[in-house]
C-alpha cells in the first residue's frame, strides 16, 4: 500500500495518471472476472487509472447483457409453471438460473472494485467517509449526494443512512482535511457511482427473478427459510450445488455484515448471523434462543439444500417436515423446567462412612496407639504373681513391667505423643522440673529378688527390639532344648 500512498501524493501534486503498478492487484481481480482475456502486463501498465472503464468492464461484456435481457423478459412474462417431466438440466430456465447465480457473484465483485475506485478518488475530498460508511452501495449514494459540496448542512442525507451516522458524517465533514475535487475527477467519480448503482439494481433484478423461480429450483430450502432468503443464500453461495457443498456453519454466516460502529455504539449488531436473520422463524424466536435457533436453521437448510441439489424431493415435503421439526424444537426449548420436588432423605446407615487413610491419619492414630509399656503391663509371666499398684493383688496390675530377669530395669515411658500436646497446653507446669532426670536416679535397682540387680550391658545388645517381642514365635530364635532319644 506504500506504492498507493505514493501514487496519491503524486496525484495531489500533478493529478496525473500512471503508477499503474499500484492497480495491479485491483486489475488482477477484474481480469479474472471478465470474459475477455487481457494478460499482457504492458497493457495493464498502459491503462489509465483515471478511466473507469479500464477498471470495471463487466457491464460491457456480452454475457452480462445477454443474461440481463433474458432476466427482464422472464420477469415480464411472469411465473409460468415449468414442466417437471423434462429433465431439469435441459430446461432453459434452469440454465438461466445457474447463469444468474454466477452473474450475481460477479456483480458483487465488480461492485467492490468500483467501490475501491470511488473511494480512491473521493479520498481527496472527504477521507474519513470511507471509515464511516462501509457498505459500497451506501457509500456510492452518499458520494453522489454530497458531490463537491463543502458544507454538509446543505446536503440532505435523510433516508440514505441511519440518523446517527448522518450526524457523525456532518460533524466529521466540518473538520475534514479534504479539498474540493477538480471537475473532471468529480465527473468520473459520479459516473462510477452511477455504474455501481446500476449494477446494484441489476443484481436486485436477478435476485428477484431467481426468487420467483425458487419454488421450482429448491422447494425444500424455500419451505424452511422462505423464497427470498433462499434466493439470497443461493446467490451468495454461487449456485445450488455450491450451497449444498457448504458446511452448515458457513451457511449460517452467508451474508453476515461486518459491524459498523458509529462511535461506541454496539447495539443491534448480531454476531454470526447472516441472511438467516431475515427468516420468519428467526424473527419469531425470543432473543435468548436466537443463537441456537440460527444454528438449527442453518443445519436443516443445508440438509434441504443437499436434497434439492440432487432433486431428491420435488414436492417440498421434506422441507415442510423439517420446518415443522424446527418449530417443534424451538417450542420445546421454551418450556419451563419441571417443578423441583424435595429430595427424600437417604435410608439411615445405607451409605457406609468414607474411611480416610494416609500419613496424617496414621500420625494421629499413633498418639493413641498401645505403647510398649502398656503391652508389657498387659502380659504376665506364667506362675509368677504380678505386682500391683496397691499391693496384694489390689489395684492395677503391672504384668511383666519391671519383673526381675526381663533384662530391663526400667521401662521408660518414652516420648508420649499424646502428652506432647498436653504439655504444650499447660506449659507452666513444666517450669517446675529443672532437668531431664532427677538427682536421685541411679543405675542400681532394688528388685523383689534378694540382692541388687545390675543391668547387663550385653543383654541389650543381644535383644532384638523391646521385651515385647515374643521369643516363642521369633524368626531368629533356635530350639531351646533338643533331646536325643
Amino acid at each position: 500500500m506504500a506504492t498507493l500512498a505514493d501514487s496519491f501524493l503524486a496525484d495531489l501534486e500533478e493529478l496525473s495518471d500512471n503508477e499503474a503498478d499500484s492497480l495491479n492487484e485491483d486489475n488482477g481481480d477484474a481480469e479474472q472476472m471478465e470474459e475477455d482475456v487481457d494478460g499482457d502486463l504492458a497493457d495493464i501498465e498502459a491503462l489509465n487509472y483515471d478511466d473507469l472503464d479500464s477498471v470495471s468492464k463487466l457491464q460491457k461484456t456480452q454475457r452480462y447483457n445477454d443474461i440481463m435481457q433474458k432476466v427482464e423478459d422472464a420477469l415480464e412474462k411472469g411465473s409460468d409453471i415449468s414442466n417437471q417431466s423434462i429433465v431439469l438440466e435441459d430446461d432453459p430456465e434452469y440454465q438461466l438460473i445457474v447463469d444468474c447465480n454466477a452473474l450475481s457473484v460477479d456483480i458483487e465483485n465488480e461492485i467492490v472494485i468500483i467501490h475501491n475506485f470511488i473511494r480512491d478518488k473521493y479520498r481527496l475530498k472527504f477521507p474519513e467517509l470511507e471509515s464511516l460508511v462501509h457498505h459500497p452501495i451506501d457509500y456510492a449514494r452518499v458520494v453522489k449526494k454530497i458531490g463537491n459540496e463543502m458544507d454538509l448542512t446543505l446536503v440532505d442525507l435523510e433516508g440514505l443512512l441511519p440518523s446517527a451516522i448522518i450526524m457523525v458524517i456532518s460533524v466529521t465533514a466540518s473538520t475534514t482535511s479534504g479539498k474540493p475535487l477538480p471537475d473532471e475527477v468529480l465527473q468520473k467519480t459520479i459516473d462510477a457511482c452511477d455504474r455501481a448503482l446500476t449494477l446494484d439494481s441489476a443484481k436486485k433484478k436477478v435476485l428477484d427473478f431467481v426468487e420467483s423461480r425458487m419454488g421450482y429450483i429448491a422447494p425444500n430450502v424455500s419451505a424452511i427459510v422462505g423464497t427470498a432468503v433462499a434466493a439470497k443464500l443461493m446467490g451468495t453461495a454461487g449456485g445450488l450445488s455450491a450451497l449444498a457443498r457448504m458446511p452448515a456453519c458457513n451457511v449460517q454466516l452467508l451474508g453476515a455484515k461486518r459491524k459498523t460502529l458509529a462511535g461506541f455504539s454496539t447495539a443491534n449488531s448480531q454476531i454470526h448471523v447472516g441472511y438467516l436473520e431475515q427468516t420468519e422463524i428467526f424473527q419469531s424466536t425470543p432473543p435468548t434462543l436466537r443463537k441456537r435457533a440460527c444454528r438449527l436453521l442453518a443445519a436443516k437448510s443445508t440438509l434441504a439444500a443437499r436434497i434439492d441439489s440432487i432433486k431428491g424431493d420435488s414436492t417440498g415435503k421434506v422441507g415442510r417436515s423439517l420446518r415443522d421439526e424446527i418449530l417443534k424444537k424451538i417450542e420445546k426449548w421454551q418450556e419451563p423446567p419441571p417443578a423441583k420436588q424435595p429430595k427424600p432423605l437417604p435410608v439411615p446407615d445405607s451409605e457406609p462412612k468414607k474411611k480416610r487413610g494416609g500419613r496424617r491419619l496414621r500420625k494421629t492414630k499413633e498418639r493413641y496407639a498401645l505403647t510398649d509399656m502398656r503391652k508389657l503391663a498387659n502380659r504376665m509371666a506364667f506362675g509368677v504373681p504380678e505386682e500391683s499398684s496397691l499391693g496384694d493383688g489390689l489395684g492395677e496390675g503391672y504384668g511383666m513391667l519391671g519383673q526381675a530377669g526381663s533384662g530391663k530395669l526400667r521401662v521408660s515411658a518414652g516420648p508420649s505423643k499424646l502428652s506432647a500436646k498436653v504439655a504444650k497446653k499447660f506449659k507452666e507446669k513444666q517450669y517446675g522440673s529443672s532437668g531431664a532426670t532427677s538427682g536421685l536416679t541411679s543405675s542400681l535397682a532394688f528388685t523383689p529378688v534378694q540382692g541388687i540387680e545390675l543391668s547387663n550391658p550385653q543383654a541389650l545388645a543381644n535383644q532384638l527390639g523391646s521385651g515385647t517381642q515374643s521369643t516363642y514365635f521369633s524368626e531368629t530364635g533356635t530350639f531351646s532344648k533338643i533331646k536325643r532319644t
Partner: protein, 151 residues
C-alpha cells in the same frame, strides 16, 4: 399428584398395608378428622411423607369406622391421636419415658422430631430390636395422663 395422605377405613386395607410394607417402617396414625391435635399431626406428616419415603410409609386410620374397631381394641387406643409403628409386620415399641411403650400418643412438636423418631425406629428395627428408646429429650415429648378405667 398426591394431595392427601392415604386414609384407611377398612380392616382389610389395614391388613394389606401392614403385610405389604416390606423393609420400611409403617406409621399408622389413628384418629378422627374433627380433632384439632390430629389435624396438627396430619400437617406434620404430610410435610414429611416425601422426605421419609425411602424408609417409611405413612397412613391414617379413621377410628370412627366400624371395621377398624378390632385394631382400636387391640392396641387399646383411647387418646387421639395415637401412632403405632410397624416394621415388616412386627409391632415396634418405643420407650418415650411414659408408661405406654406400644404407641406414640399425641402430635409431634416439630417435623424434625417426627423424622428423628422414625429414624430411631428404623435403626432399631434393622438391628433386629423390637423396642427402641426415644431420641427426643423429654421436654419435646407431649405429656398425657393415662387414665385407668375400671382398674
Amino acid at each position: 399428584m398426591n394431595y392427601l395422605l392415604t386414609t384407611l377405613t377398612k380392616k382389610q386395607e389395614v391388613d394389606s398395608m401392614i403385610r405389604d410394607t416390606i423393609d420400611k417402617v409403617l406409621v399408622l396414625c389413628f384418629g378422627r378428622a374433627s380433632d384439632s391435635i390430629f389435624l396438627q399431626l396430619d400437617e406434620i406428616l404430610y410435610k414429611s411423607v416425601r422426605e421419609v419415603s425411602k424408609f417409611a410409609t405413612v397412613a391414617l386410620v379413621d377410628i370412627d369406622s366400624d371395621d377398624v374397631q378390632v385394631y382400636v381394641k387391640y392396641f387399646d387406643i383411647t387418646l387421639i391421636p395415637s401412632t403405632v409403628f410397624f416394621f415388616n409386620a412386627h409391632h415396634m415399641k418405643m420407650d418415650c419415658g411414659s408408661a405406654d411403650h406400644t404407641k406414640w400418643v399425641g402430635t409431634f412438636l416439630r417435623k424434625q422430631d417426627f423424622l428423628d423418631v422414625v429414624e430411631a425406629i428404623y435403626r432399631g428395627a434393622m438391628k433386629g430390636k423390637l423396642i427402641v428408646t426415644c431420641p427426643l429429650p423429654p421436654d419435646r415429648i407431649p405429656k398425657f395422663h393415662l387414665l385407668y378405667e375400671d382398674v
